[in-house]
Subunit: 344 residues, 2 copies
DNA sequence: ATAGAACACTTAAACGTTTAGATAAACGAG
DNA sequence: CTCGTTTATCTAAACGTTTAAGTGTTCTAT
C-alpha cells in the first residue's frame, strides 16, 4: 500500500487532513498560499490518495466491470477499446473478467447451465469488488434475457441480445441490405448468399436485409441461390461449390462472414473461377485477413469501437440513475476492395 | 454500494461483527452451531463483504494492473488471456488499462517522450488504485529499460524487453532457427529471408537464429538472399520481387512475419510463381489469416498464452516478496501447412 | 468603529471491515 | 472441586479518507 498517507502530508504542511483533502479534490476554497504549500509537500512525498479509503468513504469506486465471453475472439478487443476509450473520459476504471467461454464450452449454445454458472460467478465477484456497473461483451450473439442476475446493479450488453436490459448492437439488417445494393449497383442480378447458422439473431437479421434488397431491387428470387452455412470456412467452400455447379451460376456471392468468404475463394480457386473476373465475392466483418487475401476482399466493417463506446455511455447514464435515450444504432461501413467487379 | 453490511448480519445472527468476520474468513474457530446460523443469515441477506473496506484494512487489494500498449494488436488478447488464466487461479483481479498507443503515436519508436507520458500516467492511476503489481504488455518489442517508474511496486513486462526488470519473451532465436532447419530438411539450400526492421530486438534475434542455421547446416552464405523489410506487407511484396528477380532464385523464402509473407505471396502470384511448387514460403507469428490464405501458410506459432501466464506467475512471486526463479523461455511451435514443399 | 457576512481552516465522526486483546465459558487433570 | 488451559465469543481500535459542523479570522458596508 501507499506508504505515505494524508496525515503525514497534513503534518508536514502544517494543516489539517481536511485541508489537504480540500486542495486534493477542490471541494472548498483554500488560500492560494496554503494550497501551494500543500501541493508542494504532495509532490515531494509523491503522495497518492489511497483509493480503498476513498471508495469506502465516498461510496463510489469509479470502477466498472467488463465481462468478456472470450477476449481472444476477433470482435472483443475492439469493443474493449471502445469501452476503455469512453471510460477514460469519465475517469472510470475497468475491472476485466475473461470467461474463456470459447475454450470452456465452445460454440455450443445449449450449455445454458454451465454458461449461466460462469457468467454469474463473474458477476458475483465483480459485485463484491464494488463495481458500479457491468458491461457484458457477448461474442456469440445469443439472447441472454434473464440469464444474468446483477442484484440491481446496472448492466449493459454489447454485441449480444437481451430483452430485459439495454443492449447495444450494430445494424445488421441495414448492413446486408447495403452490401446487396452495392452488388446490384455493380450490375449483378443473380446473387448467391451463404448465411450463418439460422439460430443466431444477426444471421436472421442479415438475411432480412438480403431479402429486403431482393424485393426492393426486384431481383429474380431463386431459392437455389440461398445457402445455409455455419460461419466456418469449410461451409463456405462446400456451398460455394454447390452454387458454382448450378446450371445458371450466380455472378456474385455474398458470404455472411469473411471466414466463409475464404471458403468461397478456395472453391473458386479449385474450380478455376477467377475472382472478380468470373465471380464477385463479398464478405462480412472486415476481419483483418480480408485485406490480405488475393484478391483483397470487399466486405462490411463492423462498428465495434462504437458499440463499446455506446455501451459505456449508456452504462454511465444508468449508474447516474438517469434515463438512457435510444441512440441510433451504429452502422456498418462498406469497405471496397478488389473482389467485386461488374459481371461480364 | 452493498446495502447490507457486516453489522446487520451480526445483529441478525446475534453475534458480534468479529464473529461474522471469522466465519467469513475462517481465521478463527467458530462453533459449528453459530457458524451455521451466521452463514444462513449471510445467504438470506445475500451479503457480500465490501471490498473497499476489506482492502483498506487488510492492505491488500488482490488486484493487479494490466497495461496494454494496444489491446487491438494481434498478440495482446491472447497474452491477456494467459494473464487472466493465472490470475484466476490466485484469486487476483485485473484492472485493465489500454494505452491505445498504436492509434496515438503509431509505430514511431522515437516518440519516447509522449510514450513515457502515457505509460507513466497509466502506472500512476493504477498505483493509486492500490494494485499490488503491474504487468505491462508491450506490442512493439522495444527496450523499455528505465522508462517506467512504479515507485517500488513490482512490475513485469510481457513480450517486450527491459534490462532493469523481469520481462517474459519467447525464444525468438530458436524459433527462426527451427524454421530454417525445417526448410533445410525439406531440401532447400538457397533460402531467402525477409527480416523485420533491424531496430527491433526480436528482429535481430530472429536473424541470429537464421544465421546460426546457415552456418550449422553449412548453407552457402549469399548476402543477396538477405532482405531487410519493415514488417509490412508492401515490403514483403517488394523484396520478394527482388529475390525472385535474382539470376539464381531462392527456392524458399522465410518472411519474419506473416504479414510480409502475404506480400511475398502477392509477388509470387503476380510473377506467376506457384507456391509451393516453384517457391516455398514460410511466415512467422501464426496470425489467424495465415490459415486462410491460398495456399495455407506454414508458420511459427507464438506462445502468447504462456507468456501471459508466466508473466502473472512471476508477478505473483514478486508481490509475495519471493525470489522469482528463471524459467525456461516459452518456445514457438512450427505449424506445418501447405506453403512449403521440397524444391523441384 | 462595528455588525454581519464571507472566507479559511480545524475538529471529529463516519465509511465497513479486520484483528489484537479481553472476557467468559467449557474442559481436563489432579 | 479447584486451578489452569483451551475454546468461543466480544470489545474496540484501526485502516486512510471525506465532510458536516464548528471556530476563528478577515473583509464589507454602514
Amino acid at each position: 500500500m501507499s506508504e505515505v498517507g494524508i496525515k503525514e502530508i497534513a503534518a508536514r504542511a502544517n494543516v489539517s487532513t481536511a485541508t489537504v483533502s480540500y486542495v486534493l479534490n477542490g471541494t472548498r476554497n483554500v488560500k492560494l498560499n496554503t494550497r501551494e504549500r500543500v501541493m508542494r509537500v504532495i509532490e515531494e512525498m509523491n503522495y497518492k490518495p489511497n483509493n480503498a479509503a476513498q471508495s469506502l468513504k465516498r461510496k463510489r469506486t469509479n470502477t466498472i466491470g467488463v465481462i468478456a465471453e472470450d477476449v481472444t475472439v476477433f470482435n472483443v478487443p475492439e469493443i474493449i477499446d471502445g469501452i476503455n476509450d469512453c471510460a477514460d473520459k469519465m475517469d472510470m476504471h475497468i475491472l476485466l473478467t475473461n470467461l474463456r467461454l470459447d475454450k470452456r464450452i465452445g460454440r455450443n449454445f445449449d450449455q445454458t447451465d454451465s454458461y449461466r454458472h460462469y457468467a454469474n460467478n463473474a458477476v458475483s465477484e465483480l459485485l463484491s469488488k464494488q463495481v458500479e456497473g457491468i458491461v457484458y461483451i457477448g461474442v456469440h450473439p445469443r439472447d441472454l434475457t434473464g440469464l444474468i442476475d446483477t442484484s440491481g446493479k446496472p448492466i449493459v450488453y454489447a454485441y449480444c441480445y437481451t430483452q430485459s436490459d439495454i443492449s447495444i448492437q450494430y445494424h445488421d439488417e441495414q448492413a446486408s441490405y447495403e452490401a446487396m445494393t452495392y452488388l446490384v449497383k455493380k450490375g449483378h442480378t443473380r446473387i448467391g448468399i451463404i448465411s450463418g447458422t439460422m439460430d443466431s439473431i444477426p444471421s436472421r437479421l442479415r438475411f432480412n436485409g438480403y431479402y429486403k434488397a431482393v424485393t426492393e431491387h426486384e431481383l429474380p428470387f431463386d431459392p437455389q441461390l440461398i445457402k445455409m452455412g455455419n460461419w466456418e470456412a469449410e461451409s463456405g467452400y462446400r456451398l460455394a461449390k454447390e452454387l458454382l455447379e448450378l446450371e445458371q451460376r450466380p455472378t456474385a456471392i455474398l458470404a455472411m462472414n469473411d471466414v466463409m468468404a475464404v471458403g468461397v475463394m478456395r472453391a473458386a480457386d479449385e474450380m478455376n473461377v477467377q475472382i472478380p473476373r468470373d465471380l464477385s465475392v463479398m464478405g462480412f466483418d472486415n476481419r483483418e485477413f480480408s485485406d490480405y487475401l488475393i484478391p483483397r476482399v470487399t466486405t462490411m466493417d463492423l462498428p465495434l469501437h462504437e458499440i463499446g463506446f455506446q455501451a459505456m455511455e449508456s452504462l454511465a447514464l444508468l449508474i447516474k440513475g438517469e434515463q438512457v435515450e435510444r441512440k441510433p444504432m451504429p452502422v456498418c461501413k462498406l469497405i471496397e476492395r478488389e473482389s467485386v467487379d461488374a459481371p461480364r
